[in-house]
């Protein structure tokens, strides 16, 4: 049986690929919370969760069940439509960015090649096609995420939430610029916006873009830091600064809606680490089987996120703005110019 000239098993493989990737990201999100508590615990010379199941391994599931069965509370003064909509707006962009990230090489099924990237296909000759503006798509989705937070802050009708939302939007705009400019250095080397091509260009020892020129090296680090700021992780977690704003934009949220914000936060972390891996750290290239390479790199970056969280205190609001506008923005502009000269002089 065939649909549009392709056998059914091909469609099955495509759907299976999407499902596997999605379930894997969901599981990673769930266990990232556990890993974070464990790692930060050990960095503070304590143990972390260890009561739920062996070594506390059932903790994320217990947390999920608890949040699922909690009472839904919508404040009387809140704008109900936006209040319910906000968690969805925060969660969905966090996951759909994954559609364009190539997490492995192609595999063959019934003579057809299936690339391990959700939004991609291979033609008969085996050439892989994906979204040719993949990086722009990721940038677009990353900036969509802030709408959820701003909406949550505004619709809660609470001062803490509103301040959290305001901070989030200001922070997002400041750091998106620097992050975007840092990616420009990648475009200069790759000469393509398609993530598939960006990854295939990074094969071999020291083929990774972060080692390509001294400027991309700095750009990679700045991109990762700016990404941390964009997804509101410590030391840039001002939108939910617990010491000042109770819980920031999610102060008024409870049960599943809160869980969705929480998941969005960790899903964003996974996405950002995956994007950094793809753009700077060679995607699925490396010594292990392709998919494992990708997973290993993403997990190492996630460990770095947690490590950074355990180390640094939160930035003050003016320091945050200063860092974004007066340090990272000029630096990335300089990197672009420097990178252009480097490529013209040494690599052409």
């Amino acid at each position: 049986m065939e649909i549009m000239g392709l056998p059914l098993i091909y469609y099955g493989a495509m759907i299976l690929k999407v499902l596997l990737a999605f379930v894997f990201v969901l599981l990673t999100v769930a266990y990232a919370t556990y890993a974070e508590r464990k790692i930060i615990g050990h960095m503070q010379v304590r143990i972390g969760p260890n009561r739920t199941g062996p070594m506390g391994l059932l903790q994320p599931i217990a947390d999920g069940i608890k949040l699922f069965f909690k009472e839904e509370i919508i404040p009387a003064q809140a704008s109900k439509f936006a209040f319910v909509l906000a968690p969805l707006v925060a969660l969905i962009p966090a996951f759909i960015s994954f559609a364009v990230i190539p997490f492995g090489d192609t595999f063959e099924i019934a003579g057809y090649k299936v690339p391990l990237q959700i939004a991609a296909y291979a033609d008969q000759a085996g050439k892989v096609f994906d979204l040719n503006i993949g990086v722009l798509y990721i940038l677009a989705m990353a900036s969509l995420g802030v709408y959820g937070i701003v909406l949550a802050g505004w619709s809660s009708n609470s001062k803490y939430s509103l301040l959290g939302g305001l901070r989030a939007s200001a922070q997002m705009i400041s750091y998106e610029l620097a992050a975007g400019l840092a990616i420009v250095c990648v475009f200069m080397v790759s000469e393509s916006l398609s993530l598939q091509q960006i990854v295939s260009d990074q094969g071999g020892l020291f083929g990774w873009y972060i080692f390509r020129t001294p400027f991309t090296f700095v750009a990679g680090i700045i991109f990762f830091i700016c990404s941390l700021a964009e997804i509101n992780r410590t030391p840039f977690d001002l939108p939910e600064a617990e010491t000042e704003l109770v819980s920031g934009f999610c102060t008024e949220y409870s049960s599943m809606k809160y869980a969705m914000f929480f998941m969005a936060e960790y899903a964003n972390m996974v996405t950002v680490c995956a994007v950094t891996t793809t753009l700077f750290l060679g995607g699925w290239h490396g010594p292990l089987p392709p998919v494992l390479n990708f997973i290993a790199k993403v997990y190492i970056l996630m460990f770095v996120c947690m490590w950074v969280r355990a180390t640094y205190p939160r930035y003050r609001y003016d320091q945050l703005m200063k860092l974004g506008w007066k340090v990272f923005l000029p630096t990335t502009l300089f990197l672009i110019v420097g990178n252009a000269f480097w490529i013209t002089l040494f690599q052409k």
Partner: protein, 132 residues
Amino acid sequence: MIAPLIKGLQITLKHLFKKPITLMYPEEKPVVAPNFRGLHTLKVSHDKAKCVACYLCPTVCPAKCITVEAGEDAKHDKFAAKYEIDLLRCIFCGYCVEACPVDALGMTQTFELANYKRSDFVFTKERLLEKK
């Protein structure tokens, strides 16, 4: 500017490999100091409490948690007919032990004193007597 940031990361990474100092409390119990001030005990000598009901401990007690009533035994000696410590009032300062002229009162290393009823926190003479 960047060096101190990296140093901070080094410190946290070093701590990651240290042995956690967490005490798995209900399974592992802490070893308390020898002079730990836990639950009081009435010391026993020749099968009866050493207490002579001199009233120094209720007098010195800053929380006023000790109730003593004297009695007279068969040999016309003074003894504590009633000796009660209300642990809900007690601040575990140990002044009563210091004040005791006959070394009849001591403090044990017991610190798990949780209970269900308020009345269970009033320790009578029978409960305070040293277990041999």
